[in-house]
Amino acid sequence: MPRPSRLHVPRVPARPGEAPDFSYVPLSPAGAVLRPDVVAPTAEIASLSVNLIRVLDDDHCAVGPWNPHLDVDVLQVALRYMMLTRVFDDRMLRTQRQGKISFYMKSTGEEAVAIAAAMALRPSDMLFPSYRQQGLQFVRGASLVDLMCQLLSNTRDMCKGRQLPVMYHSVAGRTFSISGNLATQFPQAVGWAMAAAIKGEDNVAASWIGEGSSAEADFHHALLFASVYRAPVILNVVNNQWAISTFQGYAGGEQSSFAARGPGYGIPGLRVDGNDFLAVYAATEWAAERARKGAGATLIELVTYRAAAHSTSDDPSRYRPKEDAERWPLGDPVERLKGHLIAQGEWSDERHATLVVELEQQVAAAWAEAATYGTLTEGPRLDRDLMFEDVFKEIPAHLVEQRELLRRERS
């Protein structure tokens, strides 16, 4: 007798109280994946979406064809950026707990994703981040004070008090305004890249979404338009395993990799160790070169782990084992790059500890300055008239009227 159809429910490997289980993550040894020519036809390189591109091995050595052979000083800059991201995140979490800011989202464990990509791209390339790539802001030259003023919605807030914390933007740094609605930036990045191609410029666009939001239609629109018009765009799926409490299997990760969505659209998919700075750098560099040679878009899945809570409103101990992060098989991105530099004799535990202190002081000094421009609880506040600006380029009559009503209400 044939069995009747049965609804399949994705398996979550471990819940609180159970032992972490990462047997579902297919791994490849560092250096094992071939690096094809950047203009290789998609059909010939489909295996890149299944295997895992890794450069740093267990002995902290950079191995294999994807090794980007970066100078030591570049690696030290990268380590500094990644450590700055972590120190910044830790400090901002504390300020949220103290009630100084309303909300925060850490990127702990995912620092390499943003730092490596931003360093591999040109300053003229345009970035369309989601809310967990704060590292992009550091590499693109955002000042700590400016970022903090956004978090504080204070008188120097770049968003004039209109956005939740972490929804930064920078015109000079070519980082697009972060929406907060998931995945919407993905097809917008493709449109930006299409415009670059229409204008005959060689800038590329890069965008990031989580594996969870790859379920949105916007993700599929992005891949389709990128494929149809061969747009010079790099589409990054940050697979950090968890969308708040929802395991990546519910976004379709159980049946195939997220990178494998690429070949289905005629776009190469690269499955990359997201905690390996060198691998992320190399993959981004490959995709950018491919785009600049007119061969179109690349989908990159960055396999990583969201080591912190989704946001300050989340408590992951309610849905996954507490010790999950430390058992993650791809380790910690900061520790791995640190280990690589130490193995080359270009770094030490002492220098590392000194740098942490230096960065903490830098962040603390920036915070002291940012707070003088106002916090949620004290200091100067934004002019409430600003509420009515920028809805349109010029303020229409009905908003002038409403601004006046509010003034009277508050006088």
Binding site: R162, V171, Q188, K199, D218, D390, V391, F392
Partner: protein, 338 residues
């Protein structure tokens, strides 16, 4: 001056915009080689090339998202959604992204996207080719909303929309594409060449966004309408021999409150006519706006004539459509009240 129907007028607007500004691009389903299912983009790809006039996949959300990205990167996209009934897959990109980008980034980023889409019924389109969704977009902050009722306004408003640095949703009443329509489907079709607003300048001109048009000056009552219903309402008032002041709203956002209020303060009576469903329709906003400002001048309750609160039914199109009889009955009530 030339005789143009609304299709030709809209085509001419895009032709001029494409010719004057290399940043203007046109994109949408079937708009390129084929020239659009209503022929509104006919010949534009041949003239301006495949990089300026793009055929797209059938993905409205993708079309608008791509247009936003293009707008951020210095282009001035004119996106066509083939029918307003198909705009909903793009709703999030329009409402949450396009309309709010300037606000959320405090002016750092914006996208001057124009979205054109045919709306309204009267073409045997059934419930998926007849909707008038203006109220769904009038409620959104940050996007201008326009609907012309004749070729002259269509061209001038579309050029103004494309040149506007804010996003504009441009609704085209498709029953009016080929001629004015007084609501009687039994009569022979009338071409735009018989109508003064079918006279359209060949060159560049704009009709300002945010200004209503007094189609017919009058003293007995004010009839406020837009799109196809402007012509129906005008004919209904004429059939009753009323000296009605007929106003074409033309722009929903920003609304020309001044023109509407001045008229009702003068006439003391007001009827609102739209094709869209009644409940939560734009007529409600018009009534509230006028009531707030004209209450003491009103001599009768403001009435509205609308489509019924049902989907647009294929077999009962003309029972659904608020034709002359329904408008005339309401006009009579407004005139007899008080």
């Amino acid at each position: 001056m030339a005789q143009m129907n609304m299709i030709q007028a809209l085509n001419s607007a895009m032709d001029i915009a494409l010719g004057r500004d290399p940043a203007v691009v046109v994109l949408g389903e079937d708009v390129g080689y084929f020239g659009g299912v209503f022929r509104v983009t006919d010949g534009l790809q041949r003239k301006y090339g495949q990089h300026r006039v793009l055929d797209t996949p059938i993905a409205e959300g993708g079309i608008i998202a791509a247009a936003i990205g293009m707008g951020v990167n210095g282009l001035r996209p004119v996106a066509e959604i083939q029918f307003a009934d198909y705009i909903y897959p793009a709703y999030d990109q329009i409402v949450s992204e396009l309309a709010r980008l300037r606000y959320r980034s405090a002016g750092a980023f914006s996208a001057p996207v124009t979205i054109r889409t045919p709306c309204g019924g009267g073409i045997r389109g059934g419930q998926t080719h007849s909707q008038s969704p203006e109220a769904l977009f009038a409620h959104v902050c940050g996007i201008k909303l326009v609907m012309p009722s004749n070729p002259y306004d269509a061209k001038g408003l579309l050029i103004a929309a494309i040149e506007d640095d804010d996003p504009v949703l441009f609704l085209e009443p498709k029953r009016l594409y080929n001629g004015p329509f007084d609501g009687d489907p039994g009569k022979p079709a009338v071409p735009w060449s018989t109508h003064p607003k079918g006279e359209v300048p060949d060159g560049h001109y704009t009709v300002p966004i945010g200004k209503a048009d007094i189609v017919r000056a009058g003293s007995e009552l004010t009839v406020i309408s837009y799109g196809t219903m402007v012509h129906v309402a005008e004919a209904a008032a004429a059939s009753l021999g009323l000296d009605a002041e007929v106003i074409d709203v033309r722009t929903f956002v920003p609304l020309d409150v001044e023109t509407l209020v001045a008229s009702v303060q003068k006439t003391g009576r007001c009827l609102i006519a739209h094709e869209a469903t009644r409940f939560g329709g734009f007529g409600g906003e018009l009534i509230a706006t006028i009531q707030e400002r004209c209450f003491w001048q009103l001599e009768a309750p403001i009435e509205r004539v609308c489509g019924w609160d049902t989907p647009y039914p294929h077999a009962f199109e003309w029972e659904y459509f608020p034709g002359q009889a329904r408008v005339a009955a309401a006009l009579t009530r407004v005139m007899e009240a008080g």
